[in-house]
């Protein structure tokens, strides 16, 4: 145990480990807050779909040799998020079918573009890094950290300011519309926020594992708590703890960061299921 603590103390002296922890915790916090809304709106898999769109956008940015791919990725992902969340309900291709179509379509086009036009000598490595986020979180620059902090702060402010509206849209969209609430506008807001979270989370766990950050904290909290507020708070604490532990475990054990965080989420989910089973009927 002492050896592990010594190792961690040494590792924490490196700036990139501190950057990874800051960004990891912030991304986990943001994704867990919106995760509750997405799970309740039956849009659990939207994270996966949008992350594949982000992968496709990154491929386009790589082909265009853009120095900073973040703006392009953010714009394209936001557009698809709006398409899925705002228009999805009334579109001819609905919900899960639309997500599946956009998800695999973007993944295929992205990989195709990277293979055909990428100037990189290591296409497989690039694809692997983007899909599993292998080491991206440990190679962040200072400007990327500040950008993540700014975007996370924006997401948190939006969530706190519009908490009641998000709550209404999540539980009964038709009733909210009937009471004169601009549900379309709030769905748009949720779509934009989700797109921002997806783009941020790609660095942390990669595009294939993003759904885990959205789904596991919310579902784990729902095992133990019932009210929207307690589920949201528990989900945030759960997600932040798992991300923090996951990053620490991965740097000590030398395992891939993204999959270690998700594995920690899975263990946490198991634990919360057990707690929910024991405290059945006493949920708050």
């Amino acid at each position: 145990m002492n050896e592990i603590i010594d190792k961690l103390t040494t590792y924490l002296q490196y700036y990139f480990v501190r950057y990874a922890l800051i960004v990891g915790v912030l991304v986990a916090l943001c994704s867990s807050l919106l995760g509750v809304t997405l799970v309740l709106k039956r849009f659990s898999f939207i994270g996966d779909g949008l992350s594949h769109v982000a992968f496709g956008a990154m491929a386009i940015a790589a082909v265009l040799r853009l120095t900073n791919d973040m703006p392009l990725v953010l714009i394209l992902t936001t557009l698809c998020a709006i398409l899925l969340l705002r228009k999805g309900q009334n579109a001819k291709i609905k919900g899960d079918a639309a997500i599946a179509m956009i998800s695999v379509g973007a993944l295929a086009v992205g990989y195709l573009l990277m293979n055909l036009f990428s100037k990189s000598s290591n296409v497989t490595g690039d694809v692997c890094t983007t899909l599993f986020g292998s080491m991206s979180i440990l190679t962040l620059t200072k400007s990327e950290v500040w950008l993540s902090i700014a975007l996370s702060a924006a997401v948190l402010i939006v969530f706190i300011l519009f908490y009641n509206k998000i709550f209404s849209v999540t539980f009964d969209e038709n009733f909210s519309t009937a009471t004169g609430m601009k549900t379309g506008l709030y769905n748009l807001l949720i779509a934009v926020v989700i797109a921002v979270i997806i783009v941020l989370a790609m660095n942390l766990v990669g595009s294939l594992l993003i759904s885990a950050l959205v789904v596991f904290p919310a579902l784990s909290a729902m095992r133990v708590f019932r009210s929207f507020r307690s589920v949201t708070i528990c989900s945030a604490v759960f997600s932040v703890t798992c991300a923090f532990l996951g990053i620490l475990i991965s740097i000590v054990a030398g395992t891939p960061v993204g999959s270690t965080i998700v594995a920690t989420d899975i263990v946490g989910f198991g634990l919360f299921t057990l707690i929910g089973f024991v405290t059945k009927g006493k949920r708050v």
């Binding site: 190792k7 040799r65 290591n122 490595g125 690039d126 890094t129 080491m135 190679t139």
Partner: protein
């Protein structure tokens, strides 16, 4: 009594000198990553030794100051037999537990008095010491480890 005291004093002095000597001979490294996990070794090398350029590719020119710096780190050892029959020894640090081909490879130039016999198994993990250096090819400059030595 006096003789015993003198003997103890001499022995203590000898011990102290020996200890001092040990400290002096202990080599220090600019990058001492011995005992670090593979994730940390890769991160340190990418963040402090090579750097990544705008195209997300390893950029050896980013930290020119590292040429000449000494290192001790756990690496994967490998070798290839070239067309002319000569064996080229290499080592690499790898991301995500060697699952992705994003390895950073260093050409090895062993110290003159150092024998690598028995040659470690291909892709086995060894602890390597040496000095960061650059070598030029038509395709560009690459990193190498000069004065290399396998310590474990």
């Amino acid at each position: 009594m006096r003789k015993a005291f003198c003997l103890i004093l001499i022995l203590s002095l000898l011990l102290a000198f020996t200890a001092c000597n040990q400290n002096e001979t202990e080599t220090t490294y600019d990058y001492d990553l011995a005992g670090f996990s593979s994730t940390m070794v890769y991160s340190v090398v990418v963040n402090n030794v090579c750097g990544i350029n705008a195209q997300n590719a390893i950029d050896f020119s980013k930290y020119p100051d590292n040429v000449g710096k000494t290192v001790r780190f756990p690496v994967f050892f490998t070798y290839t037999v070239k067309a002319d029959g000569k064996t080229e020894y290499l080592c690499y640090v790898s991301d995500c537990n060697n699952q992705c081909p994003s390895n950073i490879t260093f050409l090895l130039e062993f110290e003159k008095d150092f024998s690598i016999e028995p040659v470690p198994a291909d892709r086995s993990t060894v602890t390597m010491t040496g000095t960061f250096d650059l070598y030029e090819t038509e395709a560009g400059s690459y990193l190498m480890i000069s004065h290399a030595r396998i310590v474990r």
